[in-house]
């Protein structure tokens, strides 16, 4: 009887879960359209996707080909789309089924897990399942439309449940088989969440060991389960393992950037994390007056929702207070506490623990966004604990009144569902109510027209899309309502479309192309080096197999952060280019065609060596602008030895030493444990010193870390001195000064040592420079003391004991502003370069920017300096221009005989004037006040009341968009929040206050105004606040009451008509006092940083002995190349991004390459055979022939694969991506194991639970 009742309960609960799991996703599809955008990659063209996604190399990548091992995870989901397509279901129907699957998996798997942990308590399972399906974390994921991730991660409870059942039963093999099969549902769409999920299973295993008597059996089961899981998952484990080192070496530095950890953790502070709202997807920002995440916004502002959001922690932790709390409840609560601690990241309390883990534990960088990763652990424990709590209350009430307890269950269920109402109204996904456009996918018809037209074009080629986003993960916004990082165009057009700006390792070529066309947005990557603009961009595009340039008027170009030009302007730039002409328009898509040489995917480069390129790769633009440059010759960044030296050209790009002002390291200012900021006058201050002492000891082997520690220490010492001078307490001054000097000296020693051994990086130099300001400040104070206090003895002592220590730094590494000519901040500029072999080199200077130069009456200017080698020997350089010289010309400064080695060209900076002059004025936006001081009119005081926001801005007179400007100013903070500084630009001719408000209001308006604006919905604005703002990041100036000099360079970029400087204070509650800051001696100057190259040209023999090349793409990871009539060694160029895993094999007696010739490339004697798409043949498993030595595989054209081929005559070369071959093996193993295990499983029946 009881059993039947329990079964009934199970049935009713499961039916409700199923019903809700179907209702919720169906509400997303209001107009029966497929949903695409944000982070979900909807398979628009499933056939095309099958040609691309089962491979580990992405031919359709927007990055000229890339390793896509990570994408192999999507295979099961993709296959289910394929099956549904095969069954005749439409895309929208397939998507509905996938979404229903996500919800049902979440509900049923949690129900299963809960029933496994607490048997015969269906109510717990029911509540837990509801919580797991509908909760703020999931809502955040849906807001970001991360359905691909959810597809896999909702299966964790099922996997865990099966594991726990396996531990309980007496049998081993079958439960292990079942478990290992379930892991195929739980795949690493996100490696960090996957690792946490697997970690949770491990923790449960350890916990289970305490309660079980037969520990040996548990271990046996766990071991078997692990082995079977590994075998079944081999198909993705091995490819991912192969690509991991590559991934880390490419992106590691960026991922490990600690500042990211801090910025990502800001939302995750405890009050948010504890109620599951710490997830960064749950955050919202204001896009003008529209919020980006409507639901997140409501949760932060609506009182009732704030109250209701606390029901999650309340009921979860309530579980611990019940009498029937068993060890599982205690265990789950502990797990919840730990996961909360991890999910909050570097926020208090003890945030330094996470920081330590992040820095010290290898691989921990995966968890750089803690709140977006550890949610799975928190949510799992919360769901189970809430279920437990509510059931306990229910049982307690049931003893008193059955009706009451029934009502309780109903009410709580309704409340928990009502809090998550957006799941049922379809508001949980962006549906047009917020600033993000609706996800409904409704592209205009001309996309199809263009696609059809392109299909008629023969041969393989790429398309360059303008404007491009500046990161490959950057969202593109289409006016017809699409927003996402997803390579939409490639899938639409069935051709590789380069539509994201470079971030990949070998992509400076794309950067050069984008730059030349005026669409460069990532200032940080190019500001180091000016590239001369040229009309020869088609030469660069041709190298990349780009045949068409698409100007996309559908893209909201203003959304592309940090400055692209408008499509109209981009078209203007295109039409001014040589060898590019308009093809035709397809609606808002305007297509241009290259008339010049477009090189094929595979060809043989000129046999006579081509060009060797050394130095800064970003100077490619300079290189291609030489008139005698021939693209089809190929150029080498990493040339091999033993080439025919008498026939080549050496081209050395110099590296302009630019000392960039790093943005203030908020991270290092993060107060370490115990979060007590002790001031120097505190008796416990010595504890801080002690800690610093040990820290320093620890970091002794690590110069950058040690220098940072020293810098901190120097800071503190200077604060002490400052205080002493202020209070007139001179008794300890000499000692304090001695200590300070000692610190600086030690720091310089480390710095010099590091620099000599080549470890020093620019940023290090910058930090040292920052500190150098203190010396200046120190002398200024000393002067003040002398003046005011008449303490001559003290000042004499200071001056005597303060040697000019920085003179010890090498001449050219010394920051320019600390040179003899400090008065006008002129100093020296250095161009570093490496000479590969001795010879006579022509030194060429590009004259693209001479406006900043102080020409004499005859229009002449001087270049003074010399070429210095590492030993300090200097070859003098004194050059005077003959007269006026036009712009964009290469002029020779002389010929120099140089031995091989490292050199620096040191030239005196040209004299420049302060563009602002003395009469600039500040405009104010917000609640700020600003005036020149009465006793010193050159100093401006800027005041903003506490908790108020304001911006002070001024514009550069007549800015030149192609120039680099150096902005320098002295600054000090008297009290309150320090100023932030930002460079902005706009295309408008006038930048009115209204424009300014539009661009800056979203982070300057106080929250009261934000609240008032809440009601204004309906207008869709896609702009983000970074519009028109040039700088990558704004910089917060150091909060110091001493004068500091801040210097940084900026580049307005094409089309900027108004460029200006903003100092601003945003609303910040954490400062108690009004913000008072002073600015003095603001200078804006043009920087003379024209490109300089060294060039050596030797006699060229005109050779045209290229063999005939026939090539055919079998699939994205395999190409067959026929070589005919090779009479001399040649270089084979393969236009996919260089990857050491691409291998070339020579086959002498293979089958002929058959098929229709679809394209001919006369200039390089190459023919393309119609490509195929063959996923697998048994012959793909083995090496096809004799491998071309890996030593002969090199980078060519700056991004592509090149091989030196010595074989003569007629033969075939097979190019293959090696990991794909391993993938075939792994797939075969996984599939065979799958077949064996499932046949064993089904043939022998599943054992009944032994308990």
């Amino acid at each position: 009887m009881a059993k039947t009742r329990e079964q009934n309960h199970h049935f009713i609960f499961l039916a409700i879960i199923a019903l809700l799991g179907i209702i919720a996703p169906m509400s997303f599809f209001k107009n029966n359209l497929p949903l695409a955008g944000l982070d979900t990659m909807l398979p628009i063209d499933i056939h095309l996707r099958m040609k691309e996604w089962p491979y580990l190399w992405g031919y359709f990548s927007s990055m000229l080909g890339a390793d896509f091992s990570g994408r192999i995870i999507y295979l099961p989901q993709l296959l289910s789309y394929v099956v549904m397509n095969w069954l005749g279901l439409s895309l929208v129907a397939s998507q509905k089924i996938i979404f229903i699957q996500i919800f049902l998996t979440a509900g049923f798997s949690m129900y299963f897990l809960s029933s496994t942990i607490w048997k015969k308590r269906p109510l717990i399972a029911f509540i837990a399942a509801l919580i797991f399906m509908f909760n703020p974390v999931m809502a955040g994921f849906w807001q970001q439309f991360l359905s691909d991730s959810l597809y896999s991660f909702v299966a964790l409870p099922l996997v865990l449940g099966l594991f726990l059942r396996g531990l309980e039963t007496s049998r081993i093999l079958k439960p292990a088989i079942l478990f290992s099969f379930s892991t195929l549902l739980f795949l690493p769409y996100n490696p960090a969440i996957y690792a946490i999920g697997m970690g949770v299973i491990g923790i449960f295993f350890v916990f289970n060991l305490f309660g079980t008597k037969d520990k040996i059996k548990s271990f046996k089961f766990a071991f078997l389960a692990l082995v079977l899981t590994l075998l079944l998952n081999l198909w993705w484990i091995i490819p991912q393992a192969i690509s991991l080192p590559k991934f880390i070496s490419h992106y590691g530095a960026e991922i490990k950037e600690p500042s990211r950890l801090v910025s990502q953790s800001t939302r995750a502070y405890l009050p948010n994390t504890i109620r599951l709202l710490g997830n960064s997807y749950w955050g919202y920002s204001l896009w003008n007056d529209e919020v980006s995440n409507y639901i997140g916004f409501l949760y932060e502002t609506e009182p009732i929702l704030i109250w209701l959001s606390f029901i999650y922690p309340f009921f979860a932790f309530l579980a611990l207070s019940f009498r029937r709390r068993d060890k599982t409840v205690v265990f789950l609560t502990s797990l919840g506490i730990v996961s909360l601690f991890l999910a909050k990241g570097v926020s208090r309390p003890f945030g330094s623990v996470y920081d330590w883990l992040f820095q010290k534990v290898p691989g921990f960088f995966l968890f750089r966004t803690p709140s977006d990763k550890f949610w799975i652990m928190t949510l799992l424990t919360y769901s189970l604990l809430i279920g437990f709590s509510i059931t306990e209350i229910f049982n307690w009430l049931a003893k008193k009144s059955k009706a009451l307890s029934g009502i309780l269950v109903l009410v709580t269920t309704v409340i928990f569902l009502a809090v998550q109402w957006p799941f049922f109204t379809g508001d949980v996904i962006p549906n047009g109510k917020s600033a993000i456009p609706s996800l409904e996918f409704k592209p205009p018809s001309y996309y199809q027209e263009l696609s059809n037209w392109l299909k008629e074009q023969k041969g393989s080629f790429r398309i360059l899309n303008l404007p491009g986003a500046n990161r490959f993960t950057r969202w593109l916004v289409y006016k017809w309502g699409f927003l996402g990082a997803y390579p939409l165009l490639a899938e639409f057009l069935g051709r590789p479309v380069v539509d994201k700006q470079p971030q990949a390792p070998s992509d400076f070529l794309r950067l050069a192309a984008y730059y030349q066309l005026g669409n460069f947005s990532d200032i940080s990557t190019i500001i180091d080096q000016q590239l001369p603009m040229s009309k020869s961009v088609s030469r660069i595009l041709g190298l990349m197999n780009i045949r068409y340039v698409l100007v996309n008027h559908d893209v909201e170009w203003q959304h592309l952060h940090y400055g692209s030009e408008s499509p109209e302007e981009l078209e203007r730039n295109l039409s001014s280019q040589e060898m590019i002409e308009k093809e035709r328009d397809f609606g808002n898509l305007h297509l241009y065609r290259l008339k010049g040489t477009v090189l094929p995917e595979i060809y043989s480069a000129s046999a006579d060596g081509g060009i060797e390129f050394f130095g800064n790769k970003k100077q490619l633009g300079a290189f291609s602008s030489f008139d005698d440059y021939l693209p089809e010759n190929g150029f080498y960044l990493n040339p091999l030895g033993g080439e025919t030296a008498e026939k080549r050209e050496i081209f050395i790009g110099t590296d302009y030493r630019y000392y960039r002002e790093t943005f203030s390291r908020n991270y290092t200012n993060f107060p370490p444990f115990p979060f007590i900021r002790l001031l120097p006058d505190n008796p416990l201050y010595s504890m801080v010193e002690l800690r610093d002492f040990y820290r320093e000891k620890k970091f002794r082997e690590d110069p950058p870390a040690l220098i940072l520690t020293k810098l901190d220490l120097a800071d503190k010492r200077m604060a002490e001195i400052d205080k002493m001078i202020k209070t007139g307490n001179f008794s300890g001054l000499a000692k304090a000064q001695q200590k300070y000097e000692e610190t600086i000296r030690e720091m310089v020693e480390v710095f010099e040592k590091g620099w000599r051994s080549g470890e020093t990086v620019d940023t290090l130099a910058l930090d040292v420079r920052k500190r150098l300001n203190y010396q200046e400040n120190f002398l200024v104070w000393a002067g003040k003391v002398l003046e005011n206090k008449d303490e001559e003895n003290v000042i004499k002592k200071i001056l005597v004991n303060f040697p000019n220590w920085y003179s010890g730094l090498g001449e050219f590494i010394r920051p320019w502003w600390f040179d003899d000519d400090l008065a006008n901040e002129r100093g020296l500029a250095g161009y570093e370069f490496r000479v590969p072999e001795e010879g006579e080199y022509n030194l060429l200077l590009n004259t693209h920017d001479l406006e900043s130069v102080d020409l004499d009456q005859q229009g002449r200017f001087k270049i003074e300096g010399g070429i210095v080698d590492r030993s300090g020997t200097k070859i003098p350089l004194n050059w005077v221009s003959p007269g006026f010289i036009g712009a964009n010309k290469w002029i020779s400064l002389g010929k120099f005989f140089l031995k091989s080695g490292d050199y620096t060209l040191v030239i005196a900076n040209q004299r420049t004037r302060n563009l602002l002059g003395a009469n600039y004025y500040w405009r104010i936006f917000g609640d700020g006040k600003n005036w020149p001081l009465s006793d010193d009119p050159s100093t401006y005081q800027m005041e903003v009341e506490r908790r108020k926001a304001a911006a002070f801005y001024t514009t550069f007179p007549n800015p030149d968009s192609s120039a680099t400007y150096r902005v320098s100013f002295s600054y000090r903070n008297i009290s309150g929040k320090p100023l932030r500084v930002l460079i902005f630009k706009t295309r408008e001719n006038e930048f009115s206050e209204k424009d300014f408000e539009e661009a800056f209001s979203s982070f300057l308006i106080p929250s009261e105004i934000k609240r008032a604006r809440r009601e204004r919905t309906g207008v869709k604005v896609y702009k983000s606040y970074t519009i028109n703002v040039l700088a990558n990041e704004e910089e917060e100036l150091i909060k110091e009451s001493i004068w500091q000099r801040s210097i940084f360079d900026c580049h307005p970029g094409e089309g900027a008509n108004v460029v200006g400087l903003v100092f601003f204070i945003d609303e910040d509650k954490s400062y108690l006092n009004d913000s008072i800051n002073q600015i003095n001696d603001l200078r804006v100057e043009r920087v003379f940083d024209n490109p300089i190259v060294f060039r050596q040209t030797k006699e060229r023999e005109i050779l045209d002995e290229r063999p005939e090349i026939f090539f055919k793409r079998i699939n994205p990871t395999r190409y067959e190349v026929g070589v005919k009539g090779a009479v001399m060694p040649f270089k084979l160029v393969f236009n996919e991004s260089f990857d050491p895993d691409w291998r070339a094999y020579i086959v002498r007696d293979g089958e002929k390459i058959e098929g229709e010739t679809v394209a001919e490339y006369v200039s390089v004697n190459a023919f393309e055979i119609a490509p195929e798409s063959i996923f697998f043949r048994f012959s793909f498993l083995k090496k096809p022939g004799k491998e071309i030595s890996r030593g002969n595989h090199f980078l060519i054209n700056g991004y592509a694969n090149g091989w030196s081929v010595d074989e003569l005559g007629d033969y075939k070369i097979i190019l293959l991506y090696q990991p794909q071959r391993y993938f075939y093996y792994c797939l075969i193993i996984s599939i065979s194991i799958m077949i064996i295990l499932s046949s064993y499983f089904f043939l022998s029946g599943y054992p009944k639970n032994s308990r």
């Binding site: 305490f210 405890l270 309340f314 611990l320 502990s334 309390p349």
Partner: protein, 126 residues
């Protein structure tokens, strides 16, 4: 004297009434002494005070002298949790809200530690 004897002696020393009294005073004195740096930290004026240390002493005190049940500790924490929504709604200083949530978090953690320790003791006795 062998090691065991020495251990026994040490144990006697710690369980002796005078030592317990001494510890009590030491705990209070530490609290008083530590309150100086706590109060002098710059966020004091903005936040309330260093709540998580206070939570620790609350727990330490109760654990040594008048043991509170885990249930009571949890209910205290949950009661305090109910103060968070009004503070958020009234848009109070974020540091105060964070301090309070840290306090709640600490009490919950200590309740868990207490529970685990007592369960472990029982487990060992068995």
């Amino acid at each position: 004297m062998n090691l065991l004897e020495r251990l026994r002696q040490t144990r006697r020393l710690f369980t002796n009434e005078i030592t317990i009294k001494l510890f009590r005073y030491l705990a209070i004195a530490t609290f008083v002494v530590l309150s100086f740096p706590i109060l002098s930290r710059s966020s004091f004026v903005r936040g309330l005070f260093n709540l998580y240390l206070a939570a620790f002493f609350l727990w330490l005190g109760t654990y040594i002298y008048c043991r509170l049940e885990t249930k009571t500790l949890v209910l205290v924490a949950l009661l305090l949790l109910l103060f968070l929504p009004p503070l958020l709604i009234l848009d109070k200083d974020i540091l105060i809200i964070e301090d309070l949530s840290i306090y709640i978090y600490e009490i919950l953690s200590l309740a868990i530690i207490q529970e685990v320790v007592s369960r472990y003791k029982r487990y060992k006795k068995r």
